[in-house]
Amino acid sequence: MLRFVVRRLLQLIPTLLGLSVLLFIWLNRLPGGPASAILGEKATEAEVARINRALGLDQPVYVQYGRFIKRLIEGDLGTSTQTGQPVMDEFLLRFPATVELSLMAIVLAVAVGVPLGYFAAKRRGGWLDVAAVSSSLIGICIPVFFLAFMLRTVFSVNLGWFPSYGRLTTGINATEVTGLAVLDGLLTGEFDATWDALSHLILPAIALASIPVAVIVRMTRASVLEVLGEDYVRTAESKGLRKGVVRTRHVLRNALLPVITSVGLLTGSLLSGAVLTESVFTFGGIGSFIRTAIDGRDYPVLVGFIMFIAMAYVLINLLVDLAYSLIDPRVRVH
């Protein structure tokens, strides 16, 4: 087990190295430079040259790459040209918000997607099935930012049910423990903070969950359909087991295995979605930070984010594999 983990982590190194070369080449191919991004309207040539010198951008490429790598190894992803703070600090600051939002979205997606997929499969061809399948297809086809936008207009501007932006209402100064506002509120007993955070989370989470829900509904449905046709379900039925037992122990337990994998690996689409939803709701996570980085051509942030995702992807992959081996006795990691 441990060897497996170590080996997988070692595999990460060449991947990240390769990625770093690509990113460095990309950075060097970029037009413009950080100097003018810093200076804005007021840049003059002399000032640009001064800044470039200060940043070491006048040195040979290999020296710059060397420094780039050295800094990466030190966990230094550079400094944001927009905020003037280390990219790593910015990520760490905003990471909990995105984690919270993603978790909420995944929880929502699972809570809605699994039962829906299950019953769609059970009543295959029935109205529920048709509704579930078609709404999941439509869910995939609605641009996430448009959905977020609609949700905000309807539930926040028109109905006033939920706040239209942000993570917490001003004036609610929750004590930070984990950085996850909802959890912090619970841990410290500040329940008003918890439900304030929750109410801020709901709309973005729904928007963000739209694609995962669609994926999970269809995965669950296909998987349940497959499992329902399996002999062991018939065996379970032939034993006269109660419906609930058959459903949970024999159908869902098996049917959810592929769904679990997919949930773990929705990272990519979740982060893409987070960039869009967070920026619609001005949710102070990595997503909206990346959005402003895109607008402001904050390349250190973008590069750092790509490295970050690549790492997260590999790690999540690893976690999913480990989790899988715990759930499915047929899979054992060596």
């Binding site: 413009g32 430079g33 003018s36 007021k42 040259a49 001064r50 800094r71 230094d76 918890t194």
Partner: protein
């Protein structure tokens, strides 16, 4: 352990359930928010368009930062509320010698900094000396832009390209008299003394600042820690900064009870960042914020209809269509430039694209700035004339590249892409072929225009203080790649005006300079328009300022 666990689980369940119920109920949410013990609303939330860059205004050069710091820091001079006249700030009176090199300030008495320090002449000098003695990264123009603009370089310039220092000294003549000397008269004074970047900090805070160093590492400049969190910075303003919650994108300020002037109307002031126009609008409509700036012109009417307050500012900016004559030689012909000027339907642009209060421009400064001339040549909308001018120049098949920035909203141009579309169709009407060259605002677009890489481009300027040089001086005082022309008449007119120390005479010279510039026509001034600002129904809004220097201490709730 076990007890703890089960209690937590129960708490989670209960909380989640209640939360769902409570959030499902709209009235509940609105009433619990931002209220003090007595039930009156005591928190004013204002939506900004971007996060501030630092809490030390001396390190900043952008409006979003200044909007926040302005509530907590005051400079020697200020602008009159709702106008652009210079009035006393921390200095009650000011004066200069005839050469404009020695500036004497009679300071206000009984002023206290947020950290309890007393305000006096020594504090003023400590600030100016602090800036003058900046070293290292602080000398980067990215950090100390305004200092360098107003006062030139530093005690020890570390970079040979840095401007020569114009600041000479500051002496505390007595407790309440500070004297600031400069080497050379400058058109930027006394206006510069009003800049938020030169606002006065507590000497105790300055000492703390000096322990930290901004650093340039990697690809960008890292701001010092003290400027990134509340606690160290201390000014004299009606509010003190209590918390900067970057994760929640908000800066919290609290009423400073020892403020020398009228105390702030609302106890808590909060600036929250909402990056998009429609996001800010939604937040105001949903009742989540009490006001926001940079209202999209299209939203003004609907907001007003719904009962929101959208007070109109006076104009203090200029939006222009620039020509880079070196990039396209045809533009070196005055007839071609005039043809383009006659082709642009400015009134249509103003009417359909700019906020209420916008006006078509005739020269490169708004009419609110001293030095505005009524006698400049006006190039009225006249497609027929434009066509004939083109014909005269022999450029009937003129082709131009037209740059415009994307994804940006500047106070003088709310949506550049749309303005571009309208101008493009104007130009096409007189037979000019237009190639669109869109680019991201920073750095791509800025780079391109600065380097003279854009034949036609859209840019503008919002004044820092009421002096025409702050506008035209930055463009036409000498050869500039952006414009790519050398015209003796223009340069001389500028030089003459900037050297004049006498205020009234200088204004006259500016008028003349504007006439010369418009005669030469280096570009087409298009419009001056006030960025719209909106407030909730239950707010008594502050006097809106043409320089977007609203003082939120004036705010009260109805």
């Amino acid at each position: 352990m076990r007890i703890f666990k089960s209690r937590v689980t129960r708490a989670i369940t209960v909380a989640a359930a209640t939360a769902l119920i409570v959030t499902g109920c709209s009235s509940e949410r609105d009433t619990t928010e931002g209220k003090g013990k007595d039930g009156a609303k005591d928190t004013f939330v204002f939506g900004g368009a971007g996060d501030p860059g630092s809490l030390d205004p001396a390190l900043a050069s952008d409006g979003e930062t200044f909007r926040v710091t302005r509530q907590a820091f005051e400079a020697l001079l200020e602008h009159e509320p709702g106008g652009s006249e210079l009035v006393g700030g921390l200095a009650e009176k000011w004066d200069s010698n005839d050469e404009g090199t020695v500036w004497t300030f009679n300071l206000r008495k009984g002023v206290k900094f947020h950290d309890g320090e007393a305000f006096n002449a020594e504090a003023v000098c400590a600030n100016y000396d602090h800036w003058f003695n900046w070293t290292g990264t602080y000398q980067s123009s990215a950090v100390s832009y305004y200092w360098q603009t107003i006062m030139g370089g530093f005690a020890k310039n570390e970079d040979k390209d840095a401007p020569k220092a114009n600041y000479k000294s500051c002496t505390a003549k007595d407790e309440n008299t500070a004297v600031i000397e400069v080497n050379k008269a400058s058109a930027n004074l006394p206006g510069g003394f009003s800049l938020q970047a030169l606002a006065i900090h507590s000497p105790k805070a300055l000492k703390a600042y000096e322990k930290e160093e901004a650093s340039a590492k990697g690809d960008a400049i890292t701001y010092p820690k003290y400027s990134q969190q509340a606690g160290t910075v201390a000014g004299t303003g009606p509010y003190k900064i209590t918390k900067w919650n970057k994760g929640n994108k908000e800066v919290q300020l609290e009423r400073f009870d020892d403020y020398w002037g009228k105390k702030a109307g609302v106890k808590n002031l909060v600036f929250r960042t909402i990056d998009t126009e429609e996001g800010r609008r939604s937040a105001l409509q949903a009742g989540d914020i009490d006001g926001y700036d940079l209202v999209s012109p299209a939203d003004v009417k609907t907001l007003e209809k719904a009962g929101f307050q959208v007070p109109t500012r006076e104009v203090f900016n200029i939006f222009y269509l620039g020509f880079s004559q070196e990039k396209n030689k045809a533009l070196q012909n005055k007839d071609v430039r005039a043809a383009i000027a006659h082709a642009i339907d400015k009134d249509n642009l103003v009417k359909t694209q700019l906020p209420e209060g916008g006006v078509a421009a005739t020269q490169f400064i708004p009419d609110t700035v001293e030095g505005y001339s009524d006698k400049v040549e006006k190039y009225d909308y006249d497609p027929a004339k434009a066509k004939s001018l083109l014909k005269k120049a022999g450029e009937e098949k003129l082709k131009v590249e037209f740059c415009y920035p994307t994804e940006v909203s500047r106070p003088y141009m709310p949506s550049p892409g749309d303005l571009f579309e309208l101008m493009k169709s104007d130009l096409e009407k007189i037979g000019i072929t237009v190639t669109p060259k869109p680019a991201k605002w920073a750095p791509d677009y800025i780079d391109a225009t600065e380097a003279g890489g854009c034949e036609l481009h859209l840019l503008g300027w919002t004044g820092d203080f009421n002096d025409a040089y702050n506008f035209i001086g930055t463009w036409f005082a000498e050869y500039d790649k952006q414009w790519g022309f050398k015209d003796k008449k223009v340069f001389e007119a500028m030089e003459e005006a900037s050297k004049e120390v006498d205020h009234a005479k200088r204004v006259k010279l500016y008028e003349r300079a504007n006439e010369v510039v418009m005669d030469y026509l280096p570009g087409v001034p298009v419009s001056s328009s006030p960025p719209a600002i909106a407030f909730a129904k239950d707010v008594n809004p502050p006097l809106v300022s043409p320089l977007t220097q609203e003082n939120f201490a004036e705010v009260t709730f109805k």
